[in-house]
Amino acid sequence: MPTKILEKEKLIPGKTSKLVLDAPHIAKTAKPGHFVMLRVHESGERFPLTIADTDAENGTITIVYLVMGKSTAMLEMLGVGDEILDVCGPLGKATHIVPNGQKVICVGGGTGVAAMHHIAKGHHKAGNYVIAVIGARSKEFLLFYDDLAKFCDEVLVATNDGSVGITGLVTDPLKDRLESDKDIAEVVAVGPVPMMEAVTKLTKEYSVPTVVSLNSLMVDGMGMCGACRVTVGGEMKFTCVEGPEFDGHLVDFEELKIRLSSFRGEEKVSMDKHQCKCGAH
């Protein structure tokens, strides 16, 4: 069933957009941590995107994507009123949120900030004290600052060039905070694999439990194919049905990085052909 785009906001022109979709049947049950599988056109590929926000009352879900290959490039070509051919979900296990007023740090990098936003909101609604830590290369690439500022108890920012917040990476303000504040019950990290890896390395030093949301390759996304398998604590786990969130201290990030490169050559062929057709080259 095609899904209509109700709103589109270009967060980073040509690179990243936020779409609000008319999907009451998904919004009804979607929780923080869930994802959807999408397919943009008839000969398209299925791919997962984490849900960035839901509004059960208005029947909408929000997704945010980074244009990385043909599928996201084609998604970026759609506008308000257009339909996405297939949107399926909610999928995955919802974030485990303990509502006990504890302090939680939610770290987001790149478009991972969007998925983190949904998780942070969940913690806030559960009555937890939420500290958001977000980072980007520079100010114009920083996502969801205003949205997070609305409900988070604190928002800490790091940019590589220092155009806003601390100069450095998300791990810098995170380290300062872990050093000075011994009440942090949990850290949640969503973003590029090297970022999540760096966060878990740091939090391990401080023995703070850390959850990461993994972006494994998926085909069906509903527990059938095993493409998304990862090693967690020495065991094979399936990101689509047992994740996407896992104990970050147990995830084999090296293996994840390798597996994410499985189809890099094919992804480039697909993208080049698409750009050629669109006259971009």
Binding site: M1, H25, I26, T29, R39, S43, G44, E45, R46, K70, S71, L85, D86, V87, C88, G89, P90, L91, V219, D220, M222, G223, M224, C225, G226, A227, R229, V230, T231, M236, F238, V241, E255, I258, R259, S261, S262, F263, E266, E267, V269, S270, K273
Partner: protein, 468 residues
Amino acid sequence: MSQKPAKLPRTDMPCQAPAKRITNFDEVALGYTDEMAAAEASRCLQCKKPLCRQGCPVEVRIPEFIAEVVKGDLCAAYDIIKTTNSLPAVCGRVCPQEKQCEGECILAKKGESVAIGRLERYVADKALCSNIVPGKVIPKSPEIKVACIGSGPASLTCGGYLAARGATVTMFEGLHEPGGVLVYGIPNFRLPKDVVCQELNNLKAQNVDIKTNWVGGTTVTVDSLFEEGYKAIFVGVGAGLPYFLDVPGENLIGVFSANEYLTRANLGRSYNFPDYDTPNYAGQSVTVFGAGNVAMDAARTAKRMGAETVNIVYRRSRAEMPARHEEIEHAFEEGVNLLELSAPIRFEGTEAGRLCSVKLHKMELGEPDESGRRSPRKVEGSEFDLPTDLAIIALGTRPNPLFIDATPALNLNKKGYIVVDQESGETSIPNVFAGGDIVTGAATVILAMGAGRKAATVIAERFLGEIK
């Protein structure tokens, strides 16, 4: 004037030549001509107590339909088959006939059973392409709503049966295309998508509403469906996570489950990459683990994707291979090799994490185990390396966790499959029925259909009794 059937040999199935068919994904077995079907049908002895029928999980009235083929009345033949089998064009192609109807045929003792499956396919294909399919649309009773979760053979059978008797049927499929394993699992060269499409169109003609991208257990749940006024729910959510070998190196790039490899090919049409966006891994030296139908499908798909060598690694010997005979023969004709009595120790990869070889050891067969098959044991000191850049693991699947996790009130067995009442197919939740792989574990299309039918008859009795 009845004549005793002549002692004709079993009629061969015309097929695409192996050298040609490994360059395409078109159907391998081309189907009987009218003459071939007439000749084959005439071989049936029309037994008074037909054992073939007992061998069929849905008890197709085999001698009766074959008698109609002899007479040339294909319409009547089709109607007879359809009284117990809702998907004959599918079953004629994918049933393991040698273990079912044909295995029981009296002529099988001489190794020349009547080719029942081929005749069933012939009748169904003729019916489907000449539109002799009954077009009568049964009026639906809007208050008798039945939901089928999943749209594979079990749900198709259950939904079709109930729609034909006046129930308002909605089918919820998680993927973007309906058909379940018939679409994502079984390759086009064995079961053409057109055939599945025609069966789906028959359902749609009966006003069955097929909703794709609706996931049982998340988008819809048992509770939400009952709240929406559904009277009964049939759960046919099929296979789940694949088993892996549990040897080191299994997560290297180039090691795939058969589910993934085949889903990319069949659902994603990866053989048309880059015209279709879903890529598949192009291996030159392919190793397939397992010896069932799925393993044969994977091996033959790899061959068609351009592999130079395809080896099937099996820990027992050829005689124990569980796949349909025809699939094994077709695979060998296409140049697939069998490394019998071999088992993996570990996969080895390049620095970039890509698979480059697999270490195996030889096995020998010992005493028969509970399944009656001689159990394999390791031959010490028999290790050897097999260069390979694509490994496909076809060892079967576990139950799909999505629906089960979302429905804690369901009783499950030790292996995690749904427990149902043997007579009705009803689960521990009243008016929730289940059938197919989610109950039996990986099995056949026909068994799933049998389960769908059984549940449908109970649902019909319970809710359509007055209307009928």
